[in-house]
């Protein structure tokens, strides 16, 4: 008997949920019931926040050298109070120049955070979604054109296009920046490293937009045949209103899932670029450069923390994004629920 009662209660609870909140809020509630999703969100939150606030959190500057502690394994100072604990411990050891690895990791995370967010916001969301909307809604020649260009970009082997772009664009952009500095009151553009950020973002964008554009297009193609769109058009809604008020909100779930899953590969691509030396330039630390400098058997045997630190961070980021994407797919996709 008790099981029937439970079922009824459950049904009533579901009903309450349906009445009171929107689709995304309900999905969020379901998401929060998943332990893995919560853990991934917390991990992503901690890593990303510590990256963003690296300037305040990091116990040392990323270039600060201390020759008394070269190649020191991770250590924690417990007997000097809270400042001593923070300033004198080396949570992730020190590198070959006596720089605090923990601080460098935080700054490295900052680069990855900024670049992956820019790349995803511009390429995955802004460009991808709008092109997908246009392509799906208007169809015809413009659809053909956008999809053919997408196919072209997608046919480049692996992330070769990203590497080619990063390698060829940078010197050009650098020249432009020098021109801008010479001819306008703007100064310090080059030293701020804005060129690096720009180049990598463009390179990352080049391969992220296709996935979202295709996905959104598919959704729109299906949605625009439904009756509520027909009804919206019948009562005289303008095209932008139909697009942004009726079509886009209905396509939001798959977009959220793809973007989340895409963040994992975005982190990977950024690390690969800086591993190749095309990313953020030293002395600014980046996870890829750290992995490059310590990626040998010798380093792994003598000073494993130098490789394992950045490796662990990269691993956690990629894994968390993937797991979160999975969980979101579970709660948002009506077929898997």
């Amino acid at each position: 008997m008790s099981s029937t009662v439970n079922v009824q209660e459950f049904a009533r609870a579901e009903q309450r949920e349906h009445r009171s909140r929107g689709h995304l809020a309900r999905a969020m509630a379901r998401l929060l019931r998943k332990k893995i999703a919560v853990v991934s969100m917390v991990l992503i939150g901690v890593i990303y926040l510590s990256g963003i606030f690296a300037a305040w959190i990091a116990p040392h500057d990323y270039t600060a050298q201390d020759y008394s502690v070269i190649r020191k394994p991770p250590s924690i100072v417990m007997d000097k109070g809270i400042t001593g604990f923070w300033k004198e411990s080396h949570f992730a050891g020190t590198d070959r120049a006596g720089r605090d690895q923990f601080s460098r990791l935080l700054w490295g995370i900052q680069n990855t955070v900024i670049l992956t967010f820019i790349g995803m916001a511009t390429g995955g969301l802004a460009i991808g979604v709008s092109l997908g909307l246009i392509s799906g809604y208007f169809g015809g020649k413009i659809d053909g054109l956008i999809m053919r260009i997408g196919e072209l970009f997608a046919s480049f082997p692996d992330i070769l296009l990203v590497i080619i772009l990063a390698a060829t664009l940078k010197p050009r952009l650098r020249e432009w920046m020098i021109w801008v500095e010479d001819n306008t009151p703007l100064d310090g553009l080059l030293t701020s490293g804005v060129v690096d950020y720009l180049v990598i973002s463009v390179a990352l964008v080049s391969f992220t937009w296709i996935g979202t554009a295709r996905l959104v297009r598919g959704q729109i193609l299906y949605l625009k045949e439904t009756q509520h769109i027909e009804a919206a058009r019948a009562i005289g809604s303008s095209t932008p209103r139909v697009l942004f008020r009726h079509l886009l909100p209905n396509a939001i779930s798959p977009i959220v899932v793809t973007v989340t899953m895409g963040m994992g590969s975005m982190v990977g691509a950024e690390i690969i670029l800086s591993w190749l030396g095309l990313g953020i330039q030293p002395p600014r630390p980046s996870l890829g450069t750290m992995l490059l400098q310590n990626g040998s058997i010798g380093a792994l045997r003598e000073e494993p923390w130098m490789l394992l630190g950045p490796g662990l961070i990269a691993w956690t980021m990629v894994l968390s994004w993937n797991l979160l994407g999975d969980a979101l797919n579970d709660v948002l996709n009506p077929r898997t629920r």
Binding site: F156, T168, P171, G264, G295, R301, L319, D326
Partner: protein, 328 residues
């Protein structure tokens, strides 16, 4: 169906033309002067001008581009000797010009052996991914809701997320320093033990994707009515699995296989670079840094061509295996 294939085939040249224009433009207007790279510290203005004249680098952009494309597609007679009989057959010339970095060497002769190396490597890696991923996916689909299912998925995902830059040194340390099974670097073909580390580092991360795909498609099949019918008419579990479940759940996998075929020649530049394997991935990256754009273009074009063909192949194979699918 035939019309569909013909249309797709006709589309391929345009796609490759587009890809070649993109790379050619990037190479042409990109930084660095190939002649400066060629001459190195023996650079003299007159000499450089003479070389530009010889190589035709001082001609207008579109003339250079057109010339390049014509060389690539100009038909050439190839000779095949089968059983002592010489069989000539015409095919695209695929003359990608000469490398700028390795002066005097045709790009084709540089690229093809490296692609062969990468293909062997990818083949070994694919064997690992498929050999472990597919059976495991099939198995955990039968264990849905029990501990084996989420555990296998979680472990596979965790392994997949390990950066190659960490896994390769770790594997090397295990196999070459600790166990002393293999030499620490180098390459000697697919039958050499040294393929172990690169094959594992490339193949094992692939398990996760294949496993989950196989799991999903097996679950899909397991829920079908004809499986219940098969059980109801008294077939044993093994027979049902082998004849009804497995064969149907392999259908979506075929698509992935076709794409992996394209990936065969793509190479894995990180693994190849760390381990010093003379494959195409490493060569591609090195050429980008050397601004050796005949080589970059050749690799891009061959890669893009392989990708597009594999795409088509996947679609055809799909329709052939699953009669429900029709293209129009």
């Amino acid at each position: 169906m035939w019309l569909y294939i013909a249309r797709r085939l006709l589309w391929i040249p345009f796609l490759l033309l587009g890809a070649s224009i993109v790379t050619f433009t990037l190479g042409h207007y990109g930084p660095g002067d190939p002649v400066v790279v060629m001459l190195g510290n023996k650079y003299e203005e007159e000499k450089a001008d003479r070389i530009r004249e010889e190589l035709g680098l001082n001609r207008p952009f579109f003339v250079q581009y057109g010339d390049y494309i014509w060389k690539v597609i100009k038909p050439r007679i190839y000779h095949l000797t089968a059983g002592g009989v010489d069989v000539p057959f015409p095919f695209l010339g695929l003359d990608f010009g000469e490398s700028l970095r390795y002066v005097g060497q045709p790009v084709r002769d540089l690229v093809v052996p490296k692609m062969w190396v990468s293909a062997q490597l990818s083949l070994a890696a694919m064997t690992i991914s498929l050999g472990i991923g597919l059976p495991l996916g099939f198995f955990i689909a039968h264990r849905q809701g029990r501990w084996q299912d989420p555990t296998a998925v979680a472990v596979a995902l965790m392994i997949m997320a390990i950066p190659v830059m960490v896994s390769v040194p770790a594997l090397l340390w295990t196999f070459c320093t600790k166990l002393d099974w293999v030499p620490c670097s180098g390459w000697n073909g697919i039958f050499d033990l040294r393929i172990l580390v690169p094959a594992i580092s490339m193949g094992v991360p692939g398990i996760a994707g294949l496993m989950r795909l196989m799991r999903a498609s097996t679950l899909d099949v397991l829920g079908q009515d004809f499986i219940r019918t098969a059980h109801a008419k008294g077939l044993g579990n093994f027979v049902v699995d082998r004849r009804h479940v497995f064969r149907n759940s392999m259908i979506p996998i075929v698509t992935i296989l076709a794409f992996s075929l394209a990936g065969l020649i793509g190479g894995a530049f990180i693994t190849e670079t760390i381990l010093g394997i003379p494959g195409i991935g490493r060569f591609a990256v090195q050429s980008i840094f050397d601004r050796d754009y005949p080589v970059i273009m050749a690799i891009t074009l061959i890669g893009a061509g392989a990708f597009v063909l594999a795409n088509l192949l996947a679609d055809i194979a799909y329709a052939y295996i699953d009669p429900r699918i029709r293209y129009s």
